[in-house]
Symmetry: C3
Subunit: 207 residues, 3 copies
């Protein structure tokens, strides 16, 4: 009869694999803006990472469908898997916009936002790990506060950059491009916040 019941830890391994993918994607986004002459090649790597994220998400859902016993509610596994997938999707979308819009050079605000995304993803990864180790609510709450404060910081940087854009950019098409790039970068940070909020509510429910 052993082996009939899938091991619960598998879900944690899948989530952990996913959060590592996210950190890797965020790291590449920072790199892409720092080495802008290699931007096209690095964007392709981010796209690959995003595909890996998709496979990981589908594997999680497939495993979920086959499992008799899950470490926490099926819906929560479901929403956590898609919450994590949303982050890498937005990192990928940001990189794509930058290439697609053929911008000349990254702005300092774009670099700053990428760095905030990276730090937020590191916190998401830490929060996912602490889930596995049956950590206390207080520990998850700490990562939530951290990501929440990064989200506020991102919000300010994004708002400041768009404000400047409206003051200085006279070409409306360039304005549209940069406004969207900033907003997509900021949305990636929002998705990190959503993910840690899902994590927090899962921990709250299972406390």
């Amino acid at each position: 009869m052993f082996g009939l019941i899938p091991k619960n830890e598998n879900f944690f391994a899948l989530f952990s694999g996913m959060s590592k993918i996210i950190v890797e994607g965020a790291k590449l986004l920072v790199e892409m803006l720092d080495n802008f002459s290699d931007a096209v090649a690095i964007q392709k790597k981010i796209k690959d990472i995003e595909h890996q994220g998709d496979s990981q998400t589908h594997e999680t859902i497939k495993k979920l469908n086959r499992s008799f016993i899950t470490p926490f509610d099926r819906e929560d596994i479901y929403s956590l898997a898609s919450g994590l997938d949303n982050i890498i999707d937005l990192i990928d979308a940001s990189a794509q916009h930058i290439i697609m819009y053929k911008v000349d050079a990254p702005t300092s605000a774009a670099k700053e936002l990428a760095s905030i995304i990276f730090r937020a993803c590191q916190n998401v990864d830490a929060a996912v790990s602490s889930l596995k180790h049956h950590s206390k609510i207080e520990e998850i709450a700490k990562y939530c506060v951290e990501v929440n404060s990064l989200e506020n910081e991102g919000d300010n940087v994004c708002r400041g950059a768009i404000s400047l854009l409206f003051q200085e950019e006279k070409d409306p098409i360039r304005l549209i491009k940069w406004k969207e790039i900033y907003e997509t970068l900021e949305m990636a940070i929002d998705k990190c916040e959503d993910a840690v909020n899902i994590l927090e509510s899962v921990v709250v429910k299972n406390a």
Copy 2:
């Protein structure tokens, strides 16, 4: 005492009615772009369809409030009803934007997106029907994979069209209009994906 307990099948009938409305709306959207000289009249028909969708959704919620027994969780009926409503809302919004922005002629990308919406809606309808027939998770999962792949296709078409827009369109106001039309069409496909995901999670929970 008979008749005191509302028949569960009623919910399936309501959901099925709703998914038929969605397919009808998507079909009209395709027609609108194919017969653009009749666009104004067809958009009015889509608006009517959307109103029918609203009534259907409200009826579902009212029935929910009066029911002692439901075929699955109350919250799931709730989120499925609004998930389906979101699709027809976005089809309607797409049609409205096209009329409101007074575009000269539909582009091939717009037609392609409408056709993808139509196919995605047919899959949503099939998934809703299989819910009634107590189908297996694998069957719902198949429609999910199908809609997911249509969503990827839609994403590519939308991204390609917007990329072209930034390369060729010199009039910023026309660029804004078409960008928004493409994005609204793409969002309708996203809502189909959200709906089948809700369906899948309902089936997973009740497996």
Copy 3:
């Protein structure tokens, strides 16, 4: 042993405090557009109100984490708290956009949307209060219908205003600014609808 179990009413008090904050923010937004020479000062007050909302939301979540017994599901308290927070966030974002984009004067459509937001927030507040008084589903449903109809009204005003913008505004950058202001105002009304929908589903579940 008395006092060990936190009083349930505290959650209702927190929600009620939050909905009062929302009404206050909406009232200031109306005032801001009516006394546009004081707009900068009033926007700062709205920002303060939004910070109060954040603290209130965090306090709710903290209390949730410490509570053994809650008046309804933990996840529902969670989603209601963030649903209410989203409203004040969008009111704040609207006010910020108006200042940030340095618009000359508020349009009548903007004033109309602010007035709709205010009325929607009053309904949210009434719905939150009726939650405390263990009201019937029918009463909450009434507020839902009301907010739903305000949302439709807001939709029409927003759509009309944007349509006019595309007809009359020749400066693309001004067009982008106003389009976004209208859309942000409209989104604040959407968030009111989301919040009463959460309320309704909570009541449905606990009926």
